[in-house]
Symmetry: C2
Subunit: 452 residues, 2 copies
Amino acid sequence: MTGTFVIVGGDAAGMSAASKAKREHPDMDVVVFEKGEWVSYGACGLPYYVKGEIEELEEIIAVPKESFIEERGIDLRTGHEVTGIDTDAKTVTVETAEATLEQSYDSLLIATGASAIVPPFDGVELEDVYTIHDPPSGREIREAIERETDRPETVGIVGGGYIGIEMAEAFRGQGLDVHLFEMLPHVLAPFGDMVAEAVEEELVSQGVTLHLDSTVEGFDGDEFVTAVRTESDAVPVDVVVIGVGVQANSSLAAEAGIEVGETGAIAVDEYGETSAPDVYAAGDCAEADHVVTGEPDHVPLALTANRAGRAVGQTVTGDPTPTGPIAGTAVVKAFDLEAGRTGITDEAVARDAGFDPVSVTITSKSRAGYYPGGYPIQIRMMADAESGRVLGASMVGEEGVTKRVDTVATALYAEMDAHQVEYLDLSYAPPFGPTWDPVLTAAKVLNSKLEG
Amino acid sequence: MTGTFVIVGGDAAGMSAASKAKREHPDMDVVVFEKGEWVSYGACGLPYYVKGEIEELEEIIAVPKESFIEERGIDLRTGHEVTGIDTDAKTVTVETAEATLEQSYDSLLIATGASAIVPPFDGVELEDVYTIHDPPSGREIREAIERETDRPETVGIVGGGYIGIEMAEAFRGQGLDVHLFEMLPHVLAPFGDMVAEAVEEELVSQGVTLHLDSTVEGFDGDEFVTAVRTESDAVPVDVVVIGVGVQANSSLAAEAGIEVGETGAIAVDEYGETSAPDVYAAGDCAEADHVVTGEPDHVPLALTANRAGRAVGQTVTGDPTPTGPIAGTAVVKAFDLEAGRTGITDEAVARDAGFDPVSVTITSKSRAGYYPGGYPIQIRMMADAESGRVLGASMVGEEGVTKRVDTVATALYAEMDAHQVEYLDLSYAPPFGPTWDPVLTAAKVLNSKLEG
């Protein structure tokens, strides 16, 4: 297949697709329209840039813009916003600062990403109220907290998801007082209560003031923000960062009559193709099938975006490649803690998906009991009562957590039951774990409960 | 099933079996004969005891002898050596310092472990020539290197397997000069050349003098050892530790007419039962089926022993439980390096098993490229050309290696092909890895090679 492959959006999914298509098929015309100036950046690195551990913002760029153009031969145009898609005529409308143009396509990839949700808080327009979602927003925040005059001393973070947690670490690392506001009883909802409670303890011990079960109503201030207002309180702050979640940028697709799923993200088939022929969607704007439920889900994370983009880039060259299911695997560093989750970890979600969930929680260690320096690892693992199939796990501890999540994620893809996980030959040496790895212990206890 | 369950050997496999049988069936008579005085010890901890990181030898005891007897109700008799088995009469002959006795059994478990191989070196009987295999030998070595007068300054280690590597770290930690002698061109043969070369570089940088391709012929000295003699050299040393491997203690079984496999370990079926009815074998003295080849193998490691013992303990109570296949998963800490392997990592072995091996080697990082403090991780992964099935992997790096081995081990149990591994949803956050985990990158490159 030759022709023109047009891509809307120049971040992980878009640039992965462009690079893969061009590598597989150098004759293909690959055009990328990016409305901003930044392409192929690692948004996940922004908290560490704000913290100052990453000195220059440019370091989070995976591949420089010039390399895409000069080395890979991609027609990459920043400052170009796609404002309309005509799926019958197979054209897109593109606006720049100077002009409006039409571009025809043979294949189209919508890779418009996701945007930070900004609830209509009273005072949200005040100075020093930020969201964090792209490099310019990261730069604004760092400039704000490092400014010479009226340097902020106290920051309010709205939202206790992983971005909120990472930003809390970043601001504490910069010496600020941190107030974290979470509407729900616990932070990190997708990780479950066990992880949340451990992370909350860590946050408090690191000097973060937690406001749980606390709905933010707005922000006080004249020109600059001066306080976060909740139902019961007004907490003085100098800076606010809102991190209450993201939503898929699916309106461009929706306006073109392309189907949007129940999650609010663009519905796709196993190849990432939307309801419109030759129109694909990948990355944070698109759904993906969950490997445990088989149902469409929306988990906007970097690996999914990279991989789905790459698969679409291969598919459009005439080599159909599934984008692959997801497991919702996620890990987060919370100061000195590691937390992770994969699959289904919430019993209500499991029941909704037709399973009969049984869960166990175990505490083990990151090293052999007699080996110096080990830390506790807590694992909560869930299986279906009837089949024994492992549905998911969450875990938390000071070390050795994140890659243990991957063992369970791999087991989910293989649809292993608890007995099969219990009998995996996992590695053992005293500096790295007990003889029975914590994952094996969790599976063993879970299996006993299933049989008992 | 009731009756008498007799166990020969009181370490990992034996005590796991005893504990499980007694827990499942408290009325069962469970008798354990251990010829030594130590039971249920973690031999893997001995290098760290010699190093001094573990202060007291007793710390490596998993469960004290008294607990087995008083809390678990096991008839545990140390200082009792089983010297014969009559599989027709279903009795064993037991010798103590004072007497010889007969014990009948309904079920018998042979859990006699493995012994350090001591080649017939000239001078092997000299003082301060040791093997390391059990707590008393660990104590002897530590007492030797910590003695007040004539304190040793130089140690020769014969054998560059993982015990030799761990002992090198231990002795360097105690301030000794270390000479490591390996007959083969590389240390750590089962881990492959890539790992070996990285480990050798680390050993040298930590001050270990390597003698590769160097066959030890014997030891010089009158009463005490004074030198290690090779074909070409005589290296002055004050202490020698021999760690050239272990062999299954299968002679008791063989003398009773029980089948011993080609590996030299006791042949068993999937439940750990030997060729003699109601006679089981588990742990370092027994074979186990390899999950990739399906063939019997002998990989004497702690997890296998614990698990097979536990499964046999359940089986003898009337609940048949497979001991499970092994993957040969192994990890070792070599000073500041982590090395690991699982499955088949040698192309010749793969061909012998009927596969057409294709291998790739990649270098990735333990953290995101922009995140401070990351280290390179090298992975070598192998698949079968025809099916694409992943056969094994080895890896080495300063951090984040051991649990990545487990991801591959899990994939081996699921018989995943390289494409399936490439599409696993593994965890990502900048402090813990790149967006594409090194395991995914290895699978991606391997998959490209398979397709290309």
